[in-house]
Symmetry: C2
Subunit: 232 residues, 2 copies
DNA sequence: CGCGAGCTTGACGTTGTTCAACTAGAGTGG
DNA sequence: CCACTCTAGTTGAACAACGTCAAGCTCGCG
């Protein structure tokens, strides 16, 4: 048991190291790692809250999260879904410290809190690591732009096809998967009503493109989905 | 005449310096400046083209540009409008070199081409300047996310109100301005049809919120516009 | 067994797009 | 100086997409 935990921690540490150690020294890494706190999140818990100041990043080693935004009228929107291993919250450290969206667990998660001030100290003296962060943020920017374009030009059918492919390829990495999103959340990801999601999934199902049984989904014809997502 | 040009160049140079010199040394700046090329763009000309590799940034000292995207089906979308002075094209240097959208002059522009390879050399050895870039990209990311949210949750009336305020406050910096966008382009910015733009502008006009005479627009009641943009 | 949350379905109204016709203004050439 | 044409802008009507609403269903769980 003791041994198991040791192994697990070692493996997590290596993951984190892999993500950063090419860019910072061993010393800097140890400093960062030693100051970080192990933490668990249950499904539904908020890792980083919209509107609050960023005091830490979260490096998740296990689990899945959504980037969600709630507007003044109470409507929700999911910007994207991410899964471990991943560093969360990096985009706004050096711009201003207010989180523009929340990050919420959609299944139980494990990870580390990384102190932003400590990180800043390391970054300021380390151009390579800063470049790495720059790459990270550039990537997020790019994703966001594509999201915007997709939303602007595609109708719901195309968006849903696109998101099914994204989930299958990038998140669950399989043709068959069990959604850990409710229909409501799926709708918030697409940016439409839950009824629309239901009808469209049914349509795809009836056309034999996918198979839907509750939350279990099988992608039968990814090519066709791809075509639908391209057309709109 | 000669003297005028000298003065003009000096003033441009100072602008560029202002944007970067706190972060790089005098030497580095001179190196960057000396290798840059003065260039003019006429209205409609493309500064950076979607799908091509980035070989240079553009620092514009005069004029206005749109960030525009064209999808496979030929539909256009305007991501945002920017005006001089501004550094354009920074977001994707360190991620990959392909431009994900075009930048096109919407009025005659003047500026400098900055060689990306030269810039990279400077950046790699200069953490402060990298941080500045990080801030820049973070800002763009943030804008993009807000754009996404706006598009997802607001209907056309709200979007148009929002964009009118943006143009008035951030671009033209006045309650009265003359659009240098066609109705079609305005629609591409909003993400709707040009007819919808026309009808909505007319509606605002009839309600006394704005005055529209061709391309000349006067914002009479910014408070009301703000309310409309918040509600949706 | 019964309750409740999430899911599903169909009817209906609203929003926004598309299309076609028309108008106004800016060049162009005789 | 007057047709002619070309483009951008405008208008209204028909139509499609999508959201909202209300009702019924399913399934897990106490």
């Amino acid at each position: 048991m003791e041994n198991n935990k040791e192994n697990k921690l070692d493996s997590d540490k290596n993951l984190l190291k892999l993500l950063s150690s090419q860019y910072i020294t061993e010393d800097e890494f140890e400093q960062l790692y030693d100051s970080s706190v192990i933490i668990q999140f249950k499904k539904g818990e908020v890792l980083l809250k919209q509107g609050l100041k960023t005091t830490h990043l979260v490096f998740i080693t296990k689990g899945m999260v959504k980037f969600n935004y709630q507007d003044n009228s109470g409507k929700n929107l999911i910007l994207t879904i991410a899964k471990a291993p991943s560093i969360l919250g990096g985009a706004n450290i050096f711009y201003d410290n207010i989180n523009i969206f929340s990050i919420t667990a959609i299944e139980d998660c494990e990870g580390y809190l990384i102190d932003v001030e400590k990180l800043k100290n390391i970054v300021i003296n380390n151009s390579n690591f800063t470049l790495k962060l720059l790459e990270l943020v550039s990537g997020m920017f790019k994703t966001s732009v594509f999201n915007f374009i997709s939303l602007a030009h595609k109708q719901v059918t195309g968006r849903i096809a696109e998101i099914l492919l994204y989930l299958s390829r990038s998140i669950y990495e399989s043709d068959k998967f069990t959604l850990n999103l409710s229909r409501q959340e799926f709708a918030e990801f697409v940016g439409c009503s839950k009824e629309n999601v239901i009808n469209t999934l049914r349509k795809f199902h009836n056309e034999g493109i996918i198979e839907v049984t509750g939350k279990h989904i099988i992608i039968n014809d990814p090519e066709k989905l791809n075509k639908i997502s391209k057309v709109g």
